[in-house]
Symmetry: D2
Subunit: 143 residues, 4 copies
């Protein structure tokens, strides 16, 4: 069983990162080294040219990895996890449709979590972007 | 001589990417496979916790590479260049001070530009983040 | 149907890269944007400490991507494809067992192929290494 | 003053990694978060086509980072450092000339060292390859 469920994670993010409230991210699934996060793309958060910027995709992926770590370690234990590095490949222009980030942790070690994120536009087969990233985990509390 | 100078690049960015106007980026230098970009960090664009988010650093680096490409190829020829991939290493928490992105193109080929960006907080020696990235270049027009 | 099947690809590699003959790679599957490559790990190619070096894993992954590209584009069209960049995450020490590289192309464009490789030790669940990489494709011949 | 000088590092590598003896690497400089490593390219280690393989460049870069860490932390403290991840950009075909790897550590933290490596062919200006990589450092012994 995950340490934190999707609703707990959304509540935690809303409090810890109020600046991303307007992204309206939805944690659809989290736990078991996986997560699925949806980012609605509506008239409001559409960019000129009708597309989503690369840094926004990066943000979605980075948060997706964080969410998978929060789910398995708990929001208290993992809140201070920080991105150590990340590699993003931009593969196709996102459609004007919700973005879905499928997250998978490939390693959840004592000091480092490593995962990958595949971002799709809802209803399309072509991957929009692929990200691998590492999170440095805070030392576990003992006692 | 660069194809586009810092003022021309700033004017081009303001028109092409109005959504980043509030980052107040300043192109301090551009051309000869290099660029230097300043991002002011004031009360206004300070995040909770007094720091700058990872995706914002990524954005600064990505734009820095684009600016170096624009300078050498010209805003018309390079406008449609798109990020193919990027790797970011986060190294230290940025201070509350202007961020400086030092950009260097390591390759400016016919199809691909590859560069690196070192981001510093003004007045501090420790690097805040390091990014390498590739831009796919549009086919050159033949006349 | 793939342009080149596993046996054709093995024959091509043996002729084009005689220096890797002693790796004894086996192309178990190739085509449809996927490939599976086996690297036998016996007494002979075991390193001191009983492990496989990072660069050898990198080599296996890089070849795996090349094999997937060869399968879909054909050995003639894709022979001159060259690695543009790659990111490798080392996740766990490989066991003394055959290594299996599972390759997936996420994009097979006109100019660039982008894929990922998951390397496992046979019979173990933990991923040994994960690699993403880009191959620059030679211009298509027009006839 | 570095903890280990170039001769001490070469002696350590020869004992710890006998399998790379035939690369004939020379540690020309090491310490102060920098290193310079030379790999002779002679008739003997020339590949078919007269070039150096990508994985060999990766090997050189990976070792270069390790050498810079060994120099600053000492061969005893840092021997067990392991590569966590690396990104390599291949930029130009190496000439038939010695390869020079210029290493710079951008961060030398308690748990992680992060650095970059620029590889050149001796006497040529164009960079052959650029690598960034992270080494996970063993926990410091406390006395």
């Amino acid at each position: 069983m995950p340490e934190a469920n999707p609703r707990e994670i959304e509540a935690f993010l809303a409090e810890a990162f109020p600046q991303i409230a307007d992204l309206n991210l939805r944690v659809e699934q989290a736990g078991g080294r996986k997560a699925r996060v949806r980012m609605p793309i509506g008239e409001d958060n559409l960019r000129p040219g009708g597309t989503v910027s690369g840094p926004t995709l990066f943000w979605l992926a980075d948060l997706g990895l964080y969410i998978a770590v929060l789910a398995d370690l708990g929001t208290e234990a993992a809140a201070m996890a920080v991105t150590a590095n990340a590699t993003v490949n931009f593969l196709s222009k996102p459609e004007r449709a919700d973005l879905i980030a499928d997250v998978r942790l490939m390693k959840l070690g004592r000091r480092l979590a490593v995962g990958e994120v595949a971002i799709y536009s809802e209803g399309k087969d072509d991957m929009v972007a692929h990200i691998t990233g590492s999170y440095a985990l805070p030392p576990a509390k003992t006692g």
